[in-house]
Amino acid sequence: MATETRSLARSNDAGKRTAHIRRLLVHIGLIGFGLVMLYPLLWMLSSSFKPTAEIFREPGLIPWNFTPENYSEGWTALQYPFHHYLLNSAIVVGGSIVGNLIGCSMAAYAFARLEFRGKRLFFAIMLATIMLPIHVVIVPQYILFAQLDWINTFYPVIVPKLLATDGFFIFLMVQFIRGLPRDLDEAARIDGCGHVRIFLRIILPLSMPALATTAIFTFIWTWNDFFSQLIFLTRPDMYTVPVALRTFVDSSSQTSWGPLFAMSVVALGPVFGFFLAGQRYLVKGIATTGIK
């Protein structure tokens, strides 16, 4: 009897040990794979501190000849100093965030809380516009903005956001607002609040998580957006970071990859920062709505 329990305990121990080893192997695999995934990024960061010749020779991560000059060189390599482009990008991104927050939340309030004629139809149209490729509408947009004399201003990349054309964010906020208890706005209505006050005082403050998700995604997508900025911002003083980087890579010879990498790191920095700060919202946002 006693030996039986002991051998049972021993086999239990062995089972635990194999489970333990298996878990360890899984972790080693996951970490190894993660390192392979991230290696190009880490290597880019380290290479931005290497002399250019070394970038093309040294696959390792340690910048033996530490070269912070890449940053100062890259900063001034183009027609304007790099902070000029950073500022332009900041204006575009800031305007887009404000635009999306205002335009999309207004539309979302109507779709989520109000009854009106044509609601089903308009909602379906709104969902359809999420799938609409920008390439299909870019030509008439360009013609329209050219006639308004808006090419090489920030209006073509900001005003559409204010006009709630990012249907995805409307959808996200509609989903969120539907989840809020209606008792609150009905109580406010009985107290004599109109729709504007219900929207501003009740719905918006309660929708902070959805608004944060919208702001973070708008930041990342607009910061990375290249196509529309390439088309609408063609004068060097209006270049945003992606467009400036593009001229940098096209004009650069084999010798300036160090500074080019340095400025690429600068371009990725804010996205990385927002990613760290807003991970919670990001993961929740993708998981519930399924987007890139």
């Binding site: 990024l41 149209i125 990375n224 890139k292």
Partner: protein, 323 residues
């Protein structure tokens, strides 16, 4: 849709019954509170209506019109009937761009989704540190579409790039991947597969929804992990697989930035990275051939719409919607 119109389930029956006729009246443009509600709704939607007219639906129709014209932005546009579409039939670069885009979509999307599902499966088995792994794998999805990453790719797969440096360590002499017509597209496919994190997060959320008891019951009945994967996980996950598939196909058809940067805007070498959208950009904003670019835009819309429709139709045969 129906969820949208669903009223609060806990509403008192009295208010529910009194609300119904009033709502019906609102539908016919009734008076009082519901007329006001109609007006309020249209006021809240005013920006969206303007956007619809000027930025989305309006330009969509306008580009259909322009596709039947010859227009270079400077002169007047001239109606040319089907000429732009007829030109497309003989445009070898257009055909090549379609081929490149199709190869890209149908190779990179399945690879990306398979990778996403595999990693989600591993992470779903209660791995400690899940949030950290998830973040690490998700990060490339956020950065993948940016110019900076495309620049990195151009170096990594260049003649003396990182890949060849690593290969050299093993004594292998690699070639200039991005400058070789046979390999340039593959480097962009690798880039898309690299961004598997977004669908992975969606798969993870989907795996969470599968009740553990299904797996337990099957295990008791003697089903091994492989059978459980094919007979429980995959069927239960088909709606999510379908969703990811539709989304990633639509995304992949619109790929532009990576090809533009890696090829320096040319789509080279020998048009091997001339994606459809890149060619559209060259026609529209390089040559200012707006009529032709509009016709191309509509063909793209038809292709994406067609694939999405086929996907939805085919989904009836393989997507399993529970119960």
């Amino acid at each position: 849709m129906s969820a949208l119109l669903q009223r609060r389930p806990g509403a008192a029956p009295v208010s529910e019954s009194s609300a119904r006729p009033r709502r019906a009246k609102a539908g016919r443009g009734g008076t009082g509170r519901h007329k006001r509600e109609n007006l309020a709704a249209y006021a809240f939607l005013a920006p969206w209506f303007v956007g619809l007219a000027l930025i989305t639906a309006g330009p969509l129709l306008a580009s259909l019109y322009f596709s039947f014209t010859d227009y270079n932005l400077i002169g007047d546009h001239e109606f040319v009937g089907w000429a732009n579409y007829e030109r497309m039939l003989d445009d070898a670069r257009l055909h090549s761009s379609l081929r490149v885009t199709f190869v890209y979509v149908f190779v990179s999307v399945p690879l990306q989704l398979a990778m996403a599902l595999a990693l989600a499966m591993v992470l779903d088995r209660g791995v400690r540190g899940l949030p950290l792994y998830r973040s690490v794998y998700y990060l490339p999805s956020l950065l993948g579409g940016s110019v900076a990453i495309a620049i990195l790719w151009r170096q990594v797969f260049g003649a003396q790039g990182l890949v060849n440096q690593v290969l050299a360590v093993f004594g292998i002499q690699g070639e200039g991947w991005v400058s070789h017509p046979d390999h340039a597209l593959s480097t962009l496919i690798v880039l898309n597969v690299w961004t598997f994190g977004a669908p992975m997060v969606i798969f993870l959320a989907g795996l969470r929804q599968i009740p553990a008891m299904y797996h337990e019951a099957a295990a008791v009945d003697g089903a091994g992990p492989v059978r459980r994967f094919w007979h429980i996980t995959v069927p239960m996950l088909t709606p999510i697989i379908f969703f990811n598939l539709v989304l990633q196909i639509i995304n992949a058809f619109q790929t532009f930035t990576q090809a533009f940067i890696v090829s320096g805007g040319t789509g080279g070498p020998s048009d091997s990275t001339l994606f459809y959208t890149l060619y559209l950009y060259q026609r529209g904003f390089g040559a200012f051939d707006m009529g032709y670019a509009s016709a191309m835009a509509w063909l793209l819309l038809m292709i994406i719409g067609g694939f999405t429709a086929v996907n939805f139709l085919a989904s009836k045969f393989w997507v399993f919607y529970g119960d």
